[in-house]
C-alpha cells in the first residue's frame, strides 16, 4: 500500500514538472537582445501577425547586418496570442520569465489591454504595433505602452478630414459599420467632426451589422432601400468593416450595385489585403489605414519597399509596415538611451525622433505616435495583374488627425 502511494505521488510529480510550460525556448544567441513578438499567427486574422512578423524580421535583419543596436544583435521571439487575452497574458509571462522585457505586436485591442497590467507589474515594454483602441492612450493610459498604429480616433478623424477636403459635393454620408460599441462610437465621432468641418453636411442612414454575420443581404437592403434616386451624386458611404465583413457586403451588394449608388466609399480600418482578396470584385473605395507603400517618398520608405519586395515578393502592407516601424522605433530609442533598460527606453521613446518609413516622427505625451494617416483609393480591375489597382493616395498630416 505504501509503495503504491509512493508510486502515485512520484507519478504525479513526474507529470507535473514537464507539463509546466518551459521558457527555455527563448534562449538563443548569447548576448542578443530579444524582442518578443506577441501576435495572432493562427485563426481568422493570421495574416495580421504573419505580416507583422515579416516586417519586424526584415528590420531586424537590416539592423543586424549594420552591426546591431549598441553592438548587440536583435532577435525576435514569436508567440501566438490566438486573439485570446489568456494566451496573451500567458505569452507575456513566458517572455518575462525568460528575461525578455521588450514586446511588440498585439493584433487586437483586447490583447493590448490584457498585456498592460502584467507589463506594468513587471516593468516590461508593450509596443502596440497593430492594436488601435483609443482607450489605450486615454482612460487606460500606462507609461509602459507605446502605440505604433494610429488609434481609431486618428483613423476616423482622418476619414472625416478627407471626406471634407476631397468630397465637398457630397451632402449626406450614410454608414455601414460593425455592430459593437466602437463601431457606434466611431460613427458618432466621424459625424460630429465632419459637421464641425462642413456644417452643411448631413448624416443619413446608419446600418450596423454583426461582425460575425455572413449573410448580410438584409443589411444591404436596409442601407440601399431609402436612398434617393440621385444618391450616386449626393451620398457618400462610410464603411467601417474589415476582413470577412467587407468581403460579404461587397459580394452581396453586387447584384443591386450597392457601391455604385454612392458617389464615394471611405473604408475606415480596411486595407490592401481586402482588395487583394476580392480582386476584380472590389469596388472603388478609399481605404483609411496606417500605411500604403507608395504614399511616402522618404528614402527610408524606398529602401523598405525594395527590401520587402525582394524578401517576400510582394509590396509591404500596413501590418508589414507596423512590424518594421516598431523595430526601428525601438532602435531610435535604444540608440538615444544607450541602454536597454525599460525605463531608459521609455524615457528615450518620449524624447527621441523616431525614424520610420513615414518620416521622422515623435511620440506625444500620451504615447500616441504623432503620425500621418494614409488614405488610398483601390478598385477592382480585371485587366490588372493583381486584379486591382490603387491609383490614388494621400497622407493626412498628423496635426489634422489628432482630434
Amino acid at each position: 500500500m505504501i509503495v503504491r502511494r509512493m508510486l502515485v505521488l512520484s507519478a504525479l510529480f513526474a507529470l507535473a514538472v514537464p507539463l509546466a510550460p518551459s521558457p527555455s525556448r527563448a534562449q538563443g544567441t548569447a548576448g542578443a537582445l530579444k524582442i518578443g513578438l506577441i501576435d495572432t499567427i493562427s485563426g481568422a486574422y493570421a495574416q495580421v501577425g504573419t505580416d507583422t512578423q515579416h516586417g519586424a524580421q526584415l528590420a531586424i535583419d537590416e539592423i543586424n547586418a549594420a552591426g546591431g543596436v549598441g553592438g548587440r544583435r536583435l532577435e525576435l521571439v514569436v508567440k501566438d496570442e490566438q486573439l485570446n487575452p489568456t494566451a496573451t497574458v500567458q505569452a507575456l509571462r513566458e517572455l518575462q520569465s525568460a528575461g525578455v522585457t521588450i514586446t511588440m505586436g498585439y493584433a487586437s485591442s483586447a490583447d493590448c489591454l490584457a498585456a498592460l497590467p502584467v507589463a506594468a507589474q513587471n516593468d516590461m515594454l508593450v509596443m502596440g504595433s497593430n492594436c488601435i483602441a483609443t482607450a489605450l492612450t486615454t482612460t487606460k493610459f500606462d507609461k509602459h505602452f507605446f502605440r505604433v498604429a494610429p488609434s481609431d480616433t486618428m483613423l476616423t478623424s482622418a476619414a472625416a478630414q478627407f471626406a471634407h477636403e476631397h468630397f465637398p459635393a457630397i451632402g449626406t454620408w450614410d454608414a455601414y459599420a460593425p455592430d459593437y460599441v466602437t463601431g457606434h462610437d466611431d460613427w458618432t465621432f466621424f459625424s460630429e467632426k465632419l459637421r464641425r468641418l462642413s456644417p452643411g453636411v448631413q448624416t443619413g442612414k446608419a446600418v450596423f451589422v454583426p461582425l460575425a454575420a455572413q449573410d448580410v443581404r438584409s443589411y444591404v437592403t436596409a442601407l440601399s432601400s431609402d436612398l434617393p434616386a440621385d444618391s450616386a451624386k449626393s451620398h457618400g458611404l462610410y464603411l467601417a468593416t474589415f476582413g470577412g465583413a467587407t468581403a460579404a457586403v461587397v459580394k452581396q451588394g453586387k447584384p443591386e450595385n450597392l457601391f455604385g449608388k454612392f458617389a464615394a466609399t471611405i473604408n475606415v480600418g480596411g486595407s490592401e489585403p481586402t482588395a487583394a482578396q476580392l480582386g476584380a470584385d472590389f469596388p472603388d473605395a478609399w481605404f483609411v489605414y496606417d500605411y500604403y507603400h507608395r504614399a511616402y517618398a522618404t528614402a527610408m520608405n524606398r529602401r523598405f519597399v525594395a527590401a520587402y519586395q525582394k524578401a517576400y515578393r510582394d509590396a509591404p502592407n500596413s501590418w508589414s509596415y507596423e512590424g518594421y516601424a516598431t523595430i526601428y522605433a525601438l532602435r531610435s530609442a535604444i540608440d538615444r538611451a544607450k541602454s536597454v533598460g525599460v525605463d531608459q527606453i521609455i524615457a528615450a521613446l518620449e524624447q527621441a525622433p523616431i525614424s520610420t518609413p513615414k518620416g521622422v516622427l515623435h511620440y506625444r505625451s500620451d504615447h500616441e505616435l504623432a503620425q500621418p494617416v494614409t488614405v488610398f483609393e483601390c478598385k477592382g480591375d480585371a485587366s490588372a495583374p493583381k486584379q486591382y489597382t490603387c491609383p490614388h493616395w494621400a497622407a493626412i498630416p498628423a496635426d489634422k488627425v489628432a482630434k
Binding site: 460575425a212 443581404r217 453586387k254 447584384p255
Partner: protein, 297 residues
Amino acid sequence: MHNVLLPFVGGLGQGVLLFLIASGLTLIYGVMRVLNFSHGGFFMLGAYFTYTLARGHVLPAPLLVAVVVAAGLLTALVGAITERGVFRRLYSLPEISSLLATFALLLVFEGLGRLVWGIAPLSQPQSPAFLGEMHLGPVTLPSYDVFLYVVGAGVVVGLEWLVEKTEFGRMVRATAADRQMAALLGIDVERIFLAMFSLGIFLAGLGGGLVSPLIGLTPELAVSFIIQAFAIVIVGGLGSVRGTLLAAIFFGLLNAYLVALRPELADFSLYIGMGLFLIFRPQGIMGRAGSPGELAA
C-alpha cells in the same frame, strides 16, 4: 417595391440558404442519430473546393453550377472516407461522445483548411448571369436567389421522393426506425449508413459551394454557420427535412424583418427566437412529443 415585401424577399433568400446548409445535418441525424458538429467543416470544404476547381475565375453560370456540384461530390467523397474511418466507430457511442468526436473533426478540418489554402482569405467571384435581378409583378428578385429557391425546392422534393417513394428509401426508413431489426431483415445497414452519410455531406458541400460566391473564404467558415444550422434543425425537429425547411425560412424572415424594423434586435433574433420556441415546443416543429425525457421532466 413595397417596403413590406422587401424584407420578405430577402428573408426567404436567407432562409433557403440556411436550409441548404442545414439539410444534410438533419438527414444524418435522422438515420444515424449522430449530431454531426463537423458538418461545418464539410461545408467549408465545399466552398474551398469550388474555389479551387474554378481557380478563382469568373465562370459562366452553367459552368459555375457544374463546379459547385463537382465540389459537392468531392466533399461527399471526403465524407465517405471519414464515415469509414471515423464515424462508424461513433454510432454505438453515447450522443455526447459522438458530439465531441465530430467537434474534434471540425477542428481537424479547420486546421487542414489553413494548411492547404493558406493564411490569406480567398474569394470566388459570382457568375455575371447570377448578378442580375428578375421582375415578377411588383417584386424584384435577385436572380441568384431565384436559383437558390429552385435548388432548395429540388433538394426538398428529391429527398422526399428518395426517402418516401423508393425501395432504397424504405430500407433507409427501416434502418432509421430500428437498425437491429433492419439488419435482421437482411438490410445492409452499413451501406445504408455510408450512402446516407455521403448524401448528407454532399448537401453540406453543395451548400458551401452555393455560398462561396457570396462571402469571403477562410477556414473559420467551418464554425461560422454551425450554431445557426444546429438551431434550425433542432427547432425544425431533429431528423425532419420539412421541419428544417420551415425553421430555416422562419428564421430567415424573422431576421430580415427585424433588420428592417428593429435593427437593434436583429443580432439576437436567432437565439431569442430559438429559446422561446423550444420552451413552448421542445420537440421542434415536426418532432413528436412523448419521449421518456419529457415524461420525467
